[in-house]
């Protein structure tokens, strides 16, 4: 297959590009919209917003989620907020500034025109959500409140206490529920998409498994929309929900969709550290904590404790000021504790690598509120962070008003994803990819409060007209799931499930996932080296082979079988992980969340190589264990000239 990557964004002034593009796109006649069936997979911010919006327009939507309800999608767990260039604070914000900050924050690895559009529609999202009844924080005058987030110099973040994702998702879920009741969305609960079906080169349907009956069935439509989230659970331990997986995007990749920048992952600096081998997931604590908490470790490794090694160390409250290293304030005096996520995460890893970390296996740093409590009083701190402190105490059994919190970075978000053009369509015609599942807007690093913005922008405002354009050009087509293309994919899916059940080995699914996760975390996590990546690339195929020979998947393919569900997802992670490491190995530079230890300056800061790597790396599948083919989309910057990020 010869693939030419064309983003298809219009040239000319960036300010009018999206308007001009919308005008140039074709529109489906209102009376004809009901002739089209659109398959939407996923019900998070992007999926629910797209399904609701497309249904309102008059299309028939078939919507799938593996959970018991659309409201469970993991967007619900986002805490902090959502950015929008409203400039309600009159502090100098503008669409251009949000655009500029996002391109720079992404370390100049995002597509400029996509980002500009994102900043433009951000203002519509806030209007839409407010009209839906999303209870954003308000001032006493009754108008919306904003806060500064993630080191931004303006206050553009809208928030709903520490539950912004929940409230935005419920807004989209309610709009979605209305269209389910109206009969325009047919909802398939507890159905997991296991493959995508192509006909005449276009995405025309999916194969999904009913997780209650076990039935595997085909569903046909005029196009397919994937809004299936990111791949952060490749690390096993992450802040993602237990069910988050790469299966939908990976299966689409195997059918021809290019996977872009899989090595761009975001490690969030403030998560509760691992407490033991049984750990199933990690919990994020909002980065707003860094506004008032001070990060430190003991200067002397003797003062550090590690319950895994039985090392007692010294109680943090007994360590005097002079023997503490407030390393972020020391290294980055201008931004201090508020440096961007990638920088804060790496700095924590460095001090722990030096043997100055605390808690289980020496992987933790202190986040101390004692100064804030002195300044604001206990009540002041409680007003700002009460719910977070409560959550921390519930999980760790420690009182953060008395003892400093402990934090360590964890995988949180993935910027890479399926390659899409300016129309959010992958290189497979008719296959649209939205939200975290695509690669497009965050570059190599996502800024705080930008994920909710992008998911909703794609779902409400960007994808619907682009999908309409595709449908108007193609025309409505026969939807026949008995076609040989569907039957062949159904057979593939069933064969794979039977194969997993037939192994009857001795190792649990989780034990493979945990081993893979640790391997990727150590070698393709916060710091990456040629040596480590090569080692991981050597180990993954062996682990994958062992999985297919020795995994134990009890039960059958009829009825609920959670082991079988997990096994399918882990099998896909075992293939995906190889691509992720390869991408990291080939990208011989450090940018955003991708830090190659070989590429840093004397002070340990990331060094980009714009001459050789100012491109999107989009990979084409060539078979399991075969080297994928690299396609490059060159990135050009007409407005924001690449510069080295500096937060000193």
């Amino acid at each position: 297959m010869s693939i030419k990557l064309e983003a298809g964004a219009p040239g000319g002034p960036i300010e009018t590009a999206w308007d001009r593009h919308k005008f140039s796109m074709k529109i489906v006649n209102p009376a004809n919209k009901r002739k089209y069936d659109i398959i939407v997979v996923g019900t998070g911010l992007a999926g629910a917003a797209a399904a609701a919006t497309l249904a309102e327009l008059g299309y028939n939507v078939l919507n799938f989620c593996f959970q018991d309800s659309p409201r469970r999608a993991h967007s619900i767990a986002a805490q902090g907020g959502i950015n929008a260039a409203k400039n309600y604070q009159n502090d100098g914000d503008s669409i251009y500034r949000l655009f500029y900050d996002t391109v720079k924050g992404g370390d100049f690895r995002a597509r400029e025109r996509n980002v500009y559009r994102l900043a433009q529609v951000s203002v519509n999202i806030i209007d839409q959500a407010t009209a839906q009844g999303v209870p954003f924080a308000r001032e006493y005058g009754g108008l919306l409140d904003n806060r500064s987030f993630g080191g931004a110099q303006v206050s553009r973040t809208f928030y709903a206490r520490g539950q912004t994702g929940q409230q935005l998702l419920l807004g989209a879920y309610q709009a979605h529920a209305k269209m389910v009741a109206a009969g325009k969305i047919k909802m398939f609960y507890r159905h997991e998409m296991l493959d995508v079906v192509l006909k005449d080169g276009h995405a025309r349907g999916i194969v999904a498994r009913d997780l209650v009956s076990g039935e595997v069935k085909s569903y046909a439509g005029d196009c397919v929309v994937l809004a299936t989230g990111g791949y952060g659970n490749v690390f096993f331990l992450s802040t993602n929900a237990m069910g988050c997986n790469v299966t939908a995007t990976w299966r689409a990749h195997r059918r021809g969709a290019l996977f872009a920048n899989p090595c761009y992952t975001q490690i969030h600096p403030t998560c509760i550290p691992v407490s033991g081998d049984y750990q199933s997931k990690l919990t994020l604590m909002s980065e707003s904590l860094r506004n008032d908490g001070r990060v430190w470790v003991p200067k002397d490794p003797k003062d550090c404790w590690d319950d895994a090694a039985g090392k007692v160390g010294r109680h943090p409250n007994q360590i005097p000021e002079s023997e503490r290293d407030y390393y972020l304030e020391r290294r980055y005096p201008a931004f201090g504790n508020l440096v961007p996520r990638d920088i804060a995460s790496r700095a924590a890893k460095q001090v722990c690598d030096e043997g100055r970390g605390v808690s289980y296996k020496g992987r933790g740093v202190y986040l101390d509120f004692s100064d804030a409590i002195k300044r604001l009083g206990r009540k002041g701190v409680e007003e700002r962070y009460g719910n977070l402190f409560e959550m921390y105490q519930r999980i760790t059994g420690e009182d953060p008003y008395e003892v400093p919190m402990r934090m360590y970075p964890a995988s949180h978000y993935t910027m890479g994803g399926l390659w899409v053009d300016y129309n959010t369509m992958s290189n497979v015609p008719g296959l649209f990819v939205l939200g975290e599942a695509n690669f497009s807007d965050h570059g190599a690093n996502r800024l705080g409060a930008s994920a909710l913005m992008q998911g909703l922008a794609d779902g409400y405002f960007v994808a619907p007209p682009c999908i309409g354009n595709y449908l108007a050009i193609q025309g409505a087509r026969a939807k026949d799931t008995n076609a040989p293309e569907f039957k062949a994919v159904e057979q593939d899916v069933k064969g794979r499930l039977s194969k997993l059940l037939a192994i009857k080995g001795k190792r649990s699914v989780d034990s493979f996932h945990r081993e893979l996760g640790l391997l990727i975390w150590d070698n393709c996590g916060m710091g990456r080296t040629k040596e480590g990546l090569t080692k991981a690339l050597g180990r993954i195929p062996a682990l994958r082979d062992e999985f297919w020979q020795n995994v134990s998947v009890p039960g059958s393919d009829t009825g609920v079988n959670q082991s079988l569900e997990k096994a399918g997802r882990v099998a896909d992670f075992l293939e995906f992980a190889e691509l992720m490491c390869l991408d990291a190995l080939e990208r011989e530079e450090s940018c955003g969340g991708h830090f190659r230890e070989e590429h840093q300056d004397a002070e340990g800061e990331a060094r980009r190589d714009d001459e050789h790597f100012s491109h999107v790396a989009a990979w084409e599948f060539k078979g399991v264990g075969q080297r994928p083919e690299l396609h490059k989309e060159q990135l050009t910057f007409d407005y924001v000239k690449p510069s080295q990020r500096s937060y000193k």
Partner: protein, 251 residues
């Protein structure tokens, strides 16, 4: 610590279920309750036995997927805590823990500890929304909202849809769940146009799903992991009464 678990095992909706006993040794007190079940399931899986089916997703207390009866209480006895946020330090060495699914006619058992709560989705579909087509919203600051109303709306909007209120209620009523959505939307200016139609439609759906009625036991608010107040039920009843005066008696 060492524990004895009595866990409800049920193959599917139509099969009878029964308790089975499992011994757990050397349970770490820092584990979450669901991690303790993970450990049991890994053991069962490696032995080629079917693990205990239970639901969980975010494990941060916000998605509402998890939930089972732990020693007779939904999500266990710790106040304002979902099952995933309950930690083993709340138990003692030698304890016997009884674990069973949420029980309600409107929540049929799917398998083991997994129940079907789609009845709650259908209540929302009946009217738990504000009709605003994408693109038709006015500027967000065009409608100021009294901060106190907004805060109270938020308190009601924190419901995670886990169903603990139903499971705790002797009548298996879904009034705390339904009242929470009616209160959230009814307190906001944006929710006014559909306010009375909403309460009639949602309560009618509640009855249709075979949820019981409220007789003011108040178990629901105690079980609610988000601490939603009984006030939302009073608000719902008041709105329903006003709806009748307005002549809205049919869904």
């Amino acid at each position: 610590m060492n524990l004895t678990l009595q866990i409800w095992r049920q193959k599917d909706r139509n099969s009878p279920g029964q308790f089975q006993t499992y011994k757990m040794e050397k349970v770490n007190e820092h584990m979450s309750f669901l991690e303790m079940l993970d450990v049991l399931n890994e053991r069962l899986e490696a032995e080629g036995q079917e693990p205990v089916a239970f639901e969980s997703d975010c494990r941060e207390g916000i998605c509402g997927a998890c939930g089972c009866m732990i020693n007779g209480a939904p999500h266990g006895h710790l106040p304002r805590t979902t099952t995933c946020q309950l930690h083993m330090r709340e138990f003692k060495d030698g304890d016997t823990i009884t674990i069973e699914p949420f029980r309600a006619e409107a929540f049929p058992v799917v398998k083991d500890l997994v129940v079907d709560r789609s009845s709650l989705d259908r209540i929302i579909q009946a009217g738990g929304f504000i009709s605003v087509r994408t693109g038709s919203a006015p500027d967000a600051n065009a409608t100021p909202v009294v901060k106190d109303d907004s805060d109270r709306a938020f308190d009601a909007a924190t419901c995670i849809g886990c169903g603990a209120c139903v499971a705790s209620c002797p009548n298996a009523a879904a009034m705390l769940f339904t009242g929470a959505k009616i209160t959230h939307l009814g307190l906001l200016p944006q929710g006014q146009p559909e306010r009375y139609k909403r309460v009639v439609d949602m309560t009618a759906q509640m009855d249709k799903e075979a949820f019981g009625h409220c007789s003011n036991f108040g178990e629901c608010t105690v079980a609610c992991p988000k601490g939603i107040s009984l006030d939302v039920i009073a608000q719902m009843n008041r709105d329903l009464l006003v709806a009748q005066f307005k002549g809205r008696t049919e869904a």
